[in-house]
């Protein structure tokens, strides 16, 4: 009861704020914004992950290029807040909703509510287990896990001892990437996993964990380090540097530091999850679904495995000439949506 009242108060305050700002249209399914042909799309996403931040400029560039009004709300990691934000978007009468779900199984009621209101709700860059989503762009984390495990096994010649640094247990990224890693390991009985534990995606934690593993097994006994993200891979790199060791490392994400580590020969590779391509793709698909032009609504976003051979192209896009690349993103994303080669970065 009290909670409902508080929610109503927040919702009221939020709608007043929105109305005052003159943003989205009011009550009905088709807001005023639709009158001038502009689409209003609500996005609820944890603002504070670096992946999202990397992709935000490109997302805005795509929105600007296509006259889309984007309302971004941050649930701060709380799925109940995210649920309220979706309800708020529905009440606001946006044209479409993009959700980067905090939790895969907790938003069914809101997804259904959006469907009943005739507002397409799409799930981007996260698992959202509801049959009623209007579309999705989901990174293929299983494939990413499989790719790094395979790359490591190839690197060490199909035989040896590895350690695995995992994300927080129960996190969808951790579970899916591990599933991919395990599927490859199952086919390679000569690879022995010495240890596999979480370092919670964090560099400092991974550095300490790796240092302890080096003590436990001996630095010369560890032939490879498989990390489920680049931050942990970079932490492990720090730990082996502190002990003057050289051990091959693979990661996932394609952070700037990770790509640099590939250039320096410190990582053998990483799976690049380019937010500047993936997030605008989500927006492009949302637009296509709203306009009824989408051909494929469930997109599995296959992320490229980057090695020393092609790392320069990605560094150019993500670091050195990012503004120039972002200008081309709307064009690239529209092309990819048509061609089905969703993660292509070729200009």
């Amino acid at each position: 009861m009290a909670r409902k009242t508080r929610f109503a108060a927040i919702a009221f305050a939020a709608s007043v704020a929105v109305a005052l700002a003159g943003c989205a249209g009011g009550g009905g399914g088709d807001g005023e914004a639709a009158d001038d042909g502009q689409l209003t799309i609500g996005l609820t996403v944890n603002d504070t992950t670096s992946f999202v931040n990397e992709g935000k400029e490109a997302l805005q560039a795509y929105a600007d290029a296509n006259d889309i009004k984007l309302i971004i709300n941050d649930p701060k990691g709380d799925v109940t807040v995210q649920a309220s934000q979706i309800e708020q978007f529905i009440r606001q009468g946006v044209d479409g909703i993009m959700v980067i779900a905090v939790q895969p199984d907790a938003l069914n009621a809101q997804v259904l509510e959006a469907k009943d209101a005739g507002i397409p709700l799409l799930n981007v860059n996260s698992a959202l287990n509801s049959p009623d989503v209007a579309g999705s762009v989901e990174p293929d984390d299983v494939a990413a896990g499989a790719a790094i495990a395979q790359a490591m096994i190839d690197e060490i010649g199909g035989k040896g001892n590895v350690v695995i640094l995992e994300g927080p247990f129960g996190n969808s990224g951790q579970m899916l990437r591990k599933e991919g890693i395990d599927s490859v390991l199952a086919k390679n009985p000569d690879i022995k996993v010495l240890a596999s534990d979480t370092a919670n995606w964090a560099r400092d934690e991974a550095a300490n964990k790796m240092a302890n593993w080096i003590t436990a097994f001996g630095g010369d006994q560890i032939d490879g380090i498989i990390a489920e993200n680049d931050d942990m891979a970079l932490g492990a790199l720090q730990a082996i540097k502190e002990q003057n060791l050289t051990i091959p490392i693979v990661g996932i994400d394609g952070l700037q530091d990770g790509l640099r580590a590939i250039q320096n020969g410190e990582f053998i590779g990483t799976v690049l999850q380019n937010g500047s391509i993936e997030l605008p793709l989500g927006l492009a698909l949302t637009k296509a679904v709203i306009e009824g032009t989408a051909t494929e609504t469930k997109i599995a976003f296959k992320m490229p495995y980057v090695t020393a051979d092609d790392v320069d192209l990605y560094i150019d896009h993500l670091v050195d000439n990012k503004p120039a690349f972002i200008e081309k993103v709307p064009e690239i994303v529209d092309r990819n949506l048509k061609s089905g080669d969703y993660s292509s970065e070729v200009e």
Binding site: T48, S50, V52, N208, G235, E242, V319
Partner: protein, 327 residues
């Protein structure tokens, strides 16, 4: 000799052993933990492993020192984790395009901590808000600020000189470890031998009595939060140098480990009782557990449960022991 004290019985050997076990419970627990790990893994007693434990302990040690001062006054500093994040972000921001300013990094980090610590300290010293609230507010605000500095993203691609701060080696010891040792020694002396130290105990033990006896409580209260902030700021620089980037989520939850170390070390959350040596012991116990349980391959979440149990055991032993001695 016994004839002079006919009324008190000489305690039996067994009772004395029991007394010793209770009083030195933490030290004994530490010895047991070390022995168990040492016997179960050949690599536990190696120089490399000792270094690993100390490097992992150092950033916690700095904030645990500050936390001890604050807790001795009967307060608490929840903000230190966020201050670490903010310090790492501001420092990374400053040195990012200015490799020539790397030497300034520790100063910048300490300055950041001084500002945040001063705000919390003033709020507490002027009795505007209780310590829990003042530092909770700072925890939230500093974390937000850390994200603002980098526009939400981590700051990476820092000059290679920056990594040197935490990573060069003096006599086999890295700067964070040296700073930890110096910090613990200096603050032990301050607490045991200086007027300032005595006043911290006085303010925490009995603020009224302290005031009546002529101690101005406000400056003491202010300074413990400022010191705690500065130490957290320095810790942020060292951590950020170690991982070669400014990370807005660095140090998240560290305040809890620091508080745990202080509490395991025997300090009272009501103030007035506790020692730097106890904190150092509590800290090393936690870090040794982290290290040893990793060596044994115990998953991270079980490690948290074990730490939780340890906190309860330590505090109940302490409470029990002090009740006995008060009898």
């Amino acid at each position: 000799m016994t004839s002079l004290t006919p009324t008190t019985e000489r305690p039996s050997v067994l009772a004395r052993i029991r007394e010793f076990v209770i009083r030195r419970a933490m030290v004994l627990m530490m010895v047991v933990v070390i022995l168990v790990f040492g016997l179960s893994n050949d690599n536990f007693f190696t120089v490399g492993n000792l270094q690993a434990v100390l490097i992992a302990a150092a950033p916690f040690a700095l904030i645990a020192i500050g936390q001890t001062l604050v807790i001795l006054t009967g307060g608490i500093d929840l903000s230190v984790g966020s201050v670490i994040a903010l310090s790492s972000m501001v420092t990374a921001f400053v040195v990012k395009d200015h490799p020539e300013l790397v030497w300034l990094a520790p100063v910048v980090g300490i300055a950041v901590g001084f500002v945040t610590g001063s705000v919390a300290g003033l709020l507490v010293a002027r009795d505007l808000v209780p310590p829990f609230i003042a530092t909770l507010a700072m925890l939230t605000a500093a974390s937000g600020l850390a994200y603002v500095v980098g526009n939400g993203s981590p700051i990476s691609g820092l000059p290679s000189e920056y990594q040197l701060i935490a990573n060069f080696s003096v006599l086999g010891l890295r700067p964070p470890v040296l700073i930890m040792i110096v910090g613990l020694v200096v603050f032990s002396i301050i607490m045991a031998r200086t007027t300032f130290g005595l006043r911290i105990y006085a303010v925490g033990g009995n603020p009224q009595a302290s005031r009546i006896s002529g101690v101005r409580n406000a400056p003491i209260l202010y300074s413990v939060y400022a010191i705690s902030g500065m130490l957290a700021g320095l810790s942020g620089v060292l951590l950020s140098s170690r991982v070669a980037s400014g990370l807005p989520n660095l140090g998240q939850g560290y305040e809890l480990d620091a508080i745990a170390a202080v509490v395991i070390g025997g300090a009272s959350l009501f103030g007035g009782r506790g020692t730097m040596w106890g904190t150092a012991l509590g800290l090393l116990l936690i870090q040794t557990l982290n290290n040893g349980l990793d060596l044994l391959g115990v998953p991270a979440y079980w490690q948290s449960i074990i730490k939780g149990a340890l906190i309860v055991i330590a505090v109940s032993l302490d409470v029990w022991a002090s009740r006995r001695s008060n009898r």
